[in-house]
């Protein structure tokens, strides 16, 4: 009788905040806030995303397919896949090892180690490329020695892979550390007490507990590895058909005013981003369910 707001039949509606008299705002405030927030969202996030696909198909599906079937486009795709195929597993092994020693043991300097692992996040990608040029470039520390032995790192595939590893370095460790921290050590200790070896413990006890965090880290790492531009741009040398990754190929096409082709390749990368986000929210929901049940 007094309650105007409760839905008939006591059906739950809205978020828990909207259902509570003490945490609810007036309806006009709610809708103004939602409108402003969504306008910002549409202008800065949605519009660029839509633009990529619209521009890609502006000149028709034929131009789109032609752009993607160029041999140079294919070699860029191959190089991008190869780079990710090396960088992601490398950082995966590192991430697991780092998370293991950080979360299962106490040792001095741990906080410093975590800070160092985060370091690549706060370094400009351009600098990430530069440091390898300084090490392996023609004028770099190891440059003369590498030239003598005819090993090419800068302006070649190894440089691209190294720069990619650097910029994606923290991704997996970063996701795993909090997950394994929350897990504690008891389950591993129980496994050891029951006679499991270290490897068995990891495989049968730790891994099932961290698999979602691991997957989460891997897909984010992969997205960045395939999409990295700045760092790779510095070490690549932009040799068409040889050291061009997909993002670099987009740049070249764009600078040649071949917009349709540039957006065609860009649309593949945008698609990758969407798939990444879809898997990410799927994993998040999965992991959230596990917390409840």
């Amino acid at each position: 009788m007094s309650d105007v707001l409760a839905a008939p039949g006591g059906v739950l509606y809205g978020t828990r905040f909207e259902r509570n008299a003490a945490t609810r705002e007036s309806a006009w405030f709610k809708w103004v806030a939602i409108t402003v927030a969504l306008a910002f969202f549409a202008l800065f996030l949605l519009l660029p995303l839509v633009t990529v696909f619209v521009e890609a198909f502006r000149k028709g599906i034929d131009t789109y397919l032609t752009a993607l079937s160029e041999p140079e486009a294919w070699s860029a795709i191959r190089l991008t896949l190869l780079t990710a195929a090396i960088a992601v597993p490398a950082n995966l092994i590192f991430g697991v090892a780092a998370a293991w020693c950080i979360t299962k043991f106490e040792f001095p300097g741990k906080q410093l180690l975590i800070t160092f692992i985060d370091l690549p996040f706060s370094v400009s990608p351009v600098i990430a490329g530069l440091i390898y040029v300084l090490l392996f470039g023609a004028q770099g520390w190891l440059g003369p020695w590498l030239a003598e032995h005819d090993i090419k790192i800068i302006f070649a595939v190894p440089g691209i892979v190294l720069a990619t590893i650097f910029v994606t370095f923290p991704f997996i460790a970063r996701e795993l550390i909090p997950v394994m921290q929350a897990q504690g050590r008891e389950e591993e200790e129980a496994a050891i007490v029951l006679g499991a070896s270290g490897w068995q413990t990891f495989w049968h006890v730790t891994l099932p507990n961290i698999k979602w965090g691991l997957l989460y880290g891997v897909i984010l790492c992969n997205a960045r590895a395939m999409g990295e531009f700045g760092a790779v741009s510095v070490v690549s040398g932009h040799i068409r058909g040889q050291t061009n990754t997909m993002p670099l190929h987009v740049e070249i096409l764009y600078n040649e005013y071949n917009f349709a082709a540039a957006f065609a390749v860009a649309s593949l990368l945008a698609l990758l981003a969407l798939v990444t986000l879809a898997i990410k929210s799927w994993v998040e929901r999965k992991a959230a369910l596990r917390h409840i049940g």
């Binding site: 945490t23 927030a37 990529v52 770099g140 200790e189 741009s233 929210s281």
Partner: protein
């Protein structure tokens, strides 16, 4: 049991370290590998910047980092980054609030797409933003064509790109704090007679503030180093719309390694300072919210 074992074994005495006894194996292996990989990929290459910079004499170094064109790039990079992070703090807070507090159609999709700037390669974002804001672009034809306000190929374009890449930082640092905020605190405030805005001002805001500052700083740090999404829309006009990372690339293309390194050293030092600030802010967040990191 394990504690008596630990005190019986002179582990600390032998190794001289404060490592606690643990039955879980793999400490030496994982820590060793972590340190090796960290050193090879991150620490040694990064230190190359500082060693290379020491090859310059002080006046040379000063000239390299304080030429008018470089100073103009600092002004643009830091000014635009600060402004972008500020705009993101306001709208990011609003987005986080709306996503946590209200239910509305399409909420899950909006929530998932917030991370688009993490997943979308920067070069793709760069060309898409340029296509939107160029004089003949989707929005550019109105803003520049009709109103005469230039966005693309001018400093405002840099700002737009930096806003784009900074969106998730604020939303994703504020959102969890908002979600875990104890509803009882707001109920307590209401039961003590506080109006809704008073509850926000005196109860919610103080708890959110550290997280908001963390998000702001993360967005700022990322924006300062950003390259891929900016260079397409910036136009890269000397003294007007060149960002600092581009100056490093320009020096490299002129084979002025020392000059590039000097600018990189300045940026790195700033990054490290930011990293310290972020760590401090996170500790503050933890204290305010009672969470552990």
């Amino acid at each position: 049991m394990s504690s008596t074992l630990a005190s019986a074994l002179p582990v600390g005495a032998r190794s001289g370290r404060q490592r606690r006894f643990s039955v879980i194996p793999g400490f030496g292996l994982t820590l060793g590998y972590t340190l090796l990989y960290l050193s090879l990929i991150v620490l040694i290459p990064l230190s190359a910047v500082f060693f290379k910079a020491t090859e310059l004499s002080w006046p040379e170094f000063w000239r390299a980092v304080s030429s008018p064109r470089v100073v103009a790039s600092y002004q643009l990079s830091f000014g635009a980054s600060l402004l972008a992070a500020g705009i993101n703090a306001v709208f990011g807070l609003l987005l986080a609030w709306v996503l946590v507090r209200y239910s509305f159609p399409g909420k899950r999709i909006v929530d998932a797409l917030i991370d688009l700037p993490f997943a979308l390669p920067t070069a793709v974002a760069g060309i898409a933003l340029t296509a939107i804001y160029a004089r003949n672009g989707w929005l550019g034809q109105f803003i520049e064509g009709e109103l005469g306000f230039r966005i693309a190929f001018a400093p405002p374009g840099v700002l737009i790109a930096l806003i784009f890449i900074g969106v998730p930082f604020v939303v994703r640092t504020v959102q969890p704090v908002l979600e875990e905020l104890d509803m009882e605190l707001e109920e307590a405030a209401a039961s003590l007679g506080a109006r809704r805005w008073q509850t926000f001002r005196y109860v919610i805001a103080p708890v959110l503030l550290p997280a908001l500052l963390t998000g702001f700083t993360l967005a700022f740090a990322r924006a300062v180093g950003e390259y891929g999404s900016v260079i397409f829309i910036a136009g890269n006009i000397p003294m007007v719309s060149e960002i600092t990372p581009l100056m490093i690339i320009t020096r490299l293309e002129q084979f002025d390694y020392a000059g590039a390194t000097a600018i990189a050293a300045v940026m790195l030092v700033i990054s490290f300072v930011m990293l310290l600030v972020i760590n401090g802010l996170q500790a503050w967040t933890a204290k305010r919210t009672g969470r552990t990191i």
